[in-house]
């Protein structure tokens, strides 16, 4: 019966881990021990077969797709490391510094609505827009058919969370989280404007008007 040392010797001989002197000594033992020699030969055959049938390199299925998927993941990693846009989420967006320019725009638009609409007309028309910040752009779109004017504000920055939304003739606001919109009510208790977001996450201001009595 072999000793553990002999097992280790066989292993080290097989794997080429012996010094020249150790190898010579072990091979002389092999020559005089037929059982050890038979086992050594079997181990050698097994090693050779393992190397033959377990290639160190294999063709990767769909190799180009393999690479492109990795590139996609790397790009995703990079995107995740970038800071989240400040306007993420409705309430975060509401905290944007849109009050100053928006209030100004709102005031303008409401002023127009209150005073500029032709008698008997349900439309509100924006004649001019003033935005105090040069970084903010405001545009308006009017649709007589839809009986609505849309004001769009772009380039807004962060604002303190405790800033309240105010404006001339605005008495209160209501936030509807479900539809991510804030409604502004006038002095007569009726809704005069709705703020929401467009598909690009930009603020959208919808003003509505009712026939003035």
């Amino acid at each position: 019966m072999k000793t553990p040392t002999e097992d280790h010797d066989l292993l080290r001989w097989l794997d080429g881990e012996m010094s020249a002197a150790e190898k010579a000594a072990f091979e002389s033992r092999l020559a005089s021990d037929p059982a050890l020699k038979a086992e050594a030969e079997l181990m050698q055959r097994l090693s050779a077969d393992l190397r033959t049938h377990l290639p160190a390199e294999m063709p990767v299925p769909y190799a180009d797709f393999f690479n492109s998927q990795i590139q996609v993941r790397l790009a995703q990693d990079e995107n995740q490391q970038m800071p989240a846009p400040a306007s993420e989420g409705w309430f975060a967006w509401l905290r944007l510094p849109w009050l100053a320019p928006a209030a100004a725009v709102l005031m303008v638009s409401l002023f127009v609505w209150q005073n500029g609409a032709p008698s008997g007309s349900a439309d509100s028309v924006v004649h001019s827009i003033y935005v105090p910040s040069a970084a903010v752009q405001a545009r308006s779109f009017h649709s007589a058919e839809a009986n609505a004017t849309v004001l769009m504000l772009e380039g807004l920055e962060e604002m303190p969370a405790d800033r309240k939304i105010v404006g001339f003739n605005i008495t209160r606001t209501e936030v509807d989280e479900a539809v991510a919109a804030t409604t502004l009510f006038g002095t007569d208790g009726k809704a005069v404007a709705v703020m929401a977001k467009d598909a690009r996450n930009q603020p959208l201001l919808l003003t509505s008007s009712t026939p003035r009595g």
Binding site: D7, H8, L11, R12, D15, E17, L42, M43, R45, L46, S47, D49, L50, R51, T52, H53, L54, P55, A56, E57, M58, P59, V60, P61, Y62, A63, F66, N67, Q69, I70, Q71, R73, L74, A75, D77
Partner: protein, 203 residues
Amino acid sequence: MPAPTAPDPGEVLDIDLVKRSQAGDTRAFDMLVSRYRGRIYAMTYHMIQNETEAWDLAQEAFIKAWRALPRFKMDSAFYTWLYRITHNVVYDWLRKKKIQGDGEFDDSHTEHRVAAGAEAVPRGDAAPDVALKNAELGARIQQAIAKLSPEHKQVILLREVEGMAYEEIAATVPCSLGTVMSRLFYARKKLQELLKDCYENTD
């Protein structure tokens, strides 16, 4: 471990691609992926013997390597470093699979066919009966490897497929030299036992 195939003249060296990758050049990293994907995929395939999972794990290894690249000090060959990452990825996967109760490397693994394109038979124009015998032996070897525990499978693959010396295996696993030798010995004995009939009737 045998050095990766020497680069062709004019081929960009690993070290240059690594430096560019560390600077955020994903195209350079893509070249490293192309260079080593075959070896990494072979390693993952031999360990788990499932083409789809091996493909995914090989990808995961490259992605982890990309994330770890800023910490790679180039104190070893890129492939050696990448291989260790791959080894950890596969080993974690095997551990999780074991915890999830998929069986202790059950025999179902042995039902997998050899991956398409795998070199299941030696190159050359062997006679049909010899080729068939070789293919059968290849399949039997895959089945036998699948029956080893992850620890034994790992050392036998590091030794026989990657050609690592004992010290390299010990550093990769990591474990002591004595553990490497005892695992190698046990793995070979177990393989002999599992493949006994293949060797009994041939000379």
